[in-house]
């Protein structure tokens, strides 16, 4: 049994099945089952890769190593919890009259196909296919963002499509240039876009072309990561789409886009002497971090605020990978994981909180701890975790990034500390009255799924206190690969 094939086949078959059968009473369960299958397959695949080392699939079309298998597992896991969460959440939305039956069907099938495109993007060995999968992921999520068909959601989806379309076109240009550089070394064998072949000859790639190519790739995929100044689509898409979509956009899609940049950075680093790619990423990362931190304090919409928080963390992670070296890469990977888990947990909690209060405006959400202590605590703990409070895993990774920056790039430390401080003040000051305070909201028709929130937070807490040795080994290996 090839677990890799299963990992890819289950979501696409699930997506098609959900399209065909339509919205039935058991469709949410089918959605969960498909996600569970994907997760199990990916978990077994992970075990296999950890035990036997990297391998190819379908000739050299797909390549799974310790770097991407870790993202595959993470993606499948968050996909599973999101599908669990979205069951009751979407039913509540339906009861509130926000969604019709055909749209629920669209949502479920697109969700699975979106998972499929992300998994393809993560596992493909061909940088061209990587681009195709990223574009496909954009297309599926455009439909998901505009699911409510309100004026605001249409606007958000349009902006998302146009901005990411433009961005991803830049990435295609970068890919073309990369292919051009590779073809000069590898010849016209059709292997010139295969990452495994490229990485062997990365020292021979023409630096001029690679520099230009990397700029285009960084700007292009960076648009999808949400790097400033092309981050404008991200808050809108997160705020106006359904909450499960916000959770996967923030927790997964941004990671996948960043993963694409990382793969390209390895090549660019090999070809261009002097850390050109790293400096560029550090610059973009720092800019993004600062911009997002200062926008955070001005937010009124809760999902928008946490979307800006995602931008902020993506900036931090980009900065970490830009610094490079074993420690920073390790910290970057850890932070990506922690951010995925925490941010999706927060969005789950926020989704229920907003549903309960009937609004996303933060000044109208009050006293969550009274109506539903579980959601209230979930939101509070999640917020503390994302802000980097000590027992949680985010603290560990942020601490590592900061200390590494202090040691190797001291000039950046004040900027980092300032941005993190501003973000802390902004988010905490707004979440605190939402959790505590007076309220008079009605109970929801369907009991919310709280488990995913706490599973995620428990994992984050665990990693903050104790990282299992196999996980450390795994991170180390991936960090070493990134150079």
């Amino acid at each position: 049994m090839d677990f890799f094939v299963l990992t890819l086949v289950i979501p696409i078959v699930g997506g098609l099945l959900l399209t065909v059968v339509g919205e039935r009473a058991w469709a949410p369960n089918l959605n969960v089952i498909a996600s569970l299958g994907t997760f199990l397959a990916s978990a077994l695949l992970t075990i296999e890769i950890v035990a036997n080392g990297p391998r190819f699939a379908f000739g050299e079309m797909f390549f799974i190593d310790s770097l991407n298998v870790f993202f595959v597992a993470l993606t499948a896991f968050v996909g599973l919890t999101t599908s669990i969460f979205s069951g009751p959440y979407m039913k509540n939305e339906q009861e509130h009259g926000k969604l019709t039956v055909p749209r629920l069907r669209l949502y479920k099938s697109m969700f699975q196909i979106f998972m499929f495109t992300m998994l393809v993007a993560l596992t493909t060995n061909n940088l061209g296919i990587l681009w195709v999968a990223m574009e496909a992921a954009t297309l599926t999520t455009v439909l998901l963002v505009s699911l409510y068909r309100t004026a605001a959601s249409l606007e958000a989806a349009w902006k998302y499509f146009i901005l990411c379309g433009v961005g991803i076109a830049q990435a295609l240009f970068g890919t073309i240039l990369l292919y051009f550089a590779a073809e000069r070394v590898l010849g016209e064998t059709g292997n010139a876009l295969l990452w495994t072949h490229l990485v062997e000859v990365k020292g021979q790639l023409e630096p001029t072309i690679m520099a230009l190519s990397f700029i285009f790739l960084l700007v292009g995929y960076g648009t999808k990561v949400g790097l400033a100044p092309l981050h404008n689509w991200l808050p809108d898409a997160h705020a106006e789409g359904p909450t499960p979509v916000s959770a996967v956009l923030s927790g997964l899609l941004l990671n996948v886009a960043l993963y694409a940049i990382l793969r390209c950075k390895v090549l660019a680093d090999g070809a261009i002497p002097g850390g050109f790619a790293g400096n560029l990423m550090m610059g973009f990362g720092l800019l993004t971090l600062v911009v997002a931190a200062f926008f955070l304090s001005r937010q009124k919409d809760i999902k928008r605020m946490f979307a800006y928080s995602s931008i902020e963390h993506m900036g931090l992670i980009t900065f970490a990978f830009g610094m490079g070296g074993a420690v920073a890469n390790f910290a970057g990977l850890l932070h990506m994981t922690m951010h995925s888990l925490t941010k999706s947990a927060i969005f789950f909690a926020v989704g229920h909180a907003a549903q309960k209060s009937g609004t996303q405006q933060m000044e109208d959400i009050r006293g969550l701890i009274r109506i539903n202590p579980v959601i209230g605590w979930g939101l509070m703990l999640g917020t503390l975790a994302i802000l980097g409070m000590p027992p949680f895993g985010v603290f560990a990774s942020e601490f590592m990034i900061l200390t590494h920056a202090m040691k190797h790039h001291p000039w950046a430390t004040p900027v980092l500390l300032l941005a993190l401080g501003v973000a802390f003040a902004a988010i905490f000051g707004k979440v605190q009255p939402m959790v505590f305070g007076d309220t008079h909201a009605k109970p929801l028709p369907h009991a919310p799924a709280i488990t995913p929130v706490f599973v995620h937070l428990a994992l984050v807490l665990m990693i903050g206190l104790y990282i299992p040795p196999y996980l450390t080994r795994w991170f180390h290996e991936a960090a070493r690969m990134l150079g």
Partner: protein, 222 residues
């Protein structure tokens, strides 16, 4: 120096220039239907230039991509857009947010930038069509400019598709095209994207009774 340039290379250069010319014509065009026709013409020129490269180099997959370009960009997408315009009853002129002559001047500046960026790279290339890389980049940037300056949905989409044309030209000029599987994937993405946008137009119009993107300016930082 020019005497050594083979005829095929001259033809490719000519077609590339025509593509650039059409990009400018699209930038200056004020009517929606004429804009779509120009886009179709650009697709046709692109297919022709790819065909010339294919005939000269004898690369089989380039025949395929030339055919694909012809069907998709010169026939299918313009047809879809025409239908959309008719179904949505889009009338009148395309409005530009910036005056057309100003846009043209910006366009010239972009072309100069693009040429300068591409020059060192195209000198490294040894394809017969290397000179057109700068033109391809310029086409991409001009399409980008068109997306920025137009306020209606359909011209923005035409700009988006024209950008894809420029990228395709870049792929053929620098490297004789991407591997077949990638090109098929890109073509599929473009097609699906165009269809999704078509669906989108109806949703936008249902919501706003117009395809003016200026309605879509509610979400911003205050």
């Amino acid at each position: 120096m020019n005497l050594a340039v083979p005829l095929s290379s001259q033809l490719i250069n000519l077609f590339a220039s025509v593509i650039l010319l059409l990009a400018f014509a699209m930038l200056a065009q004020r009517r929606v239907l004429a804009l779509i026709n120009l886009f179709a013409l650009q697709g046709l020129t692109l297919a022709l230039s790819t065909l010339v490269v294919a005939v000269t180099t004898g690369q089989t997959h380039l025949y395929w991509s030339a055919g694909l370009t012809l069907v998709l960009k010169a026939l299918l997408l313009p047809w879809i857009l025409h239908r959309l315009v008719r179904r949505l009853e889009v009338k009148g002129d395309v409005e530009s947010l910036i005056k057309v002559p100003t846009t043209m001047l910006v366009g010239i500046a972009l072309v100069i930038i693009a040429f300068n960026v591409a020059l060192p790279i195209s000198q490294l290339s040894n394809t017969i069509s290397r000179g057109t890389l700068g033109i391809a980049l310029a086409t991409v940037m001009l399409a980008f400019l068109m997306m920025i300056t137009r306020s209606k949905a359909i011209p923005q989409v035409v700009g988006f598709l024209a950008m894809e044309n420029g990228l395709f030209l870049a792929a053929t000029s620098a490297t004789y095209g991407m591997p077949m599987v990638v090109e098929l994937g890109i073509a599929l993405d473009v097609l699906v994207g165009a269809i999704i946008l078509g669906v989108f137009f109806f949703q936008i119009r249902e919501q706003f009774d117009s395809l003016d993107i200026r309605h879509l300016e509610k979400l911003k930082e205050r």
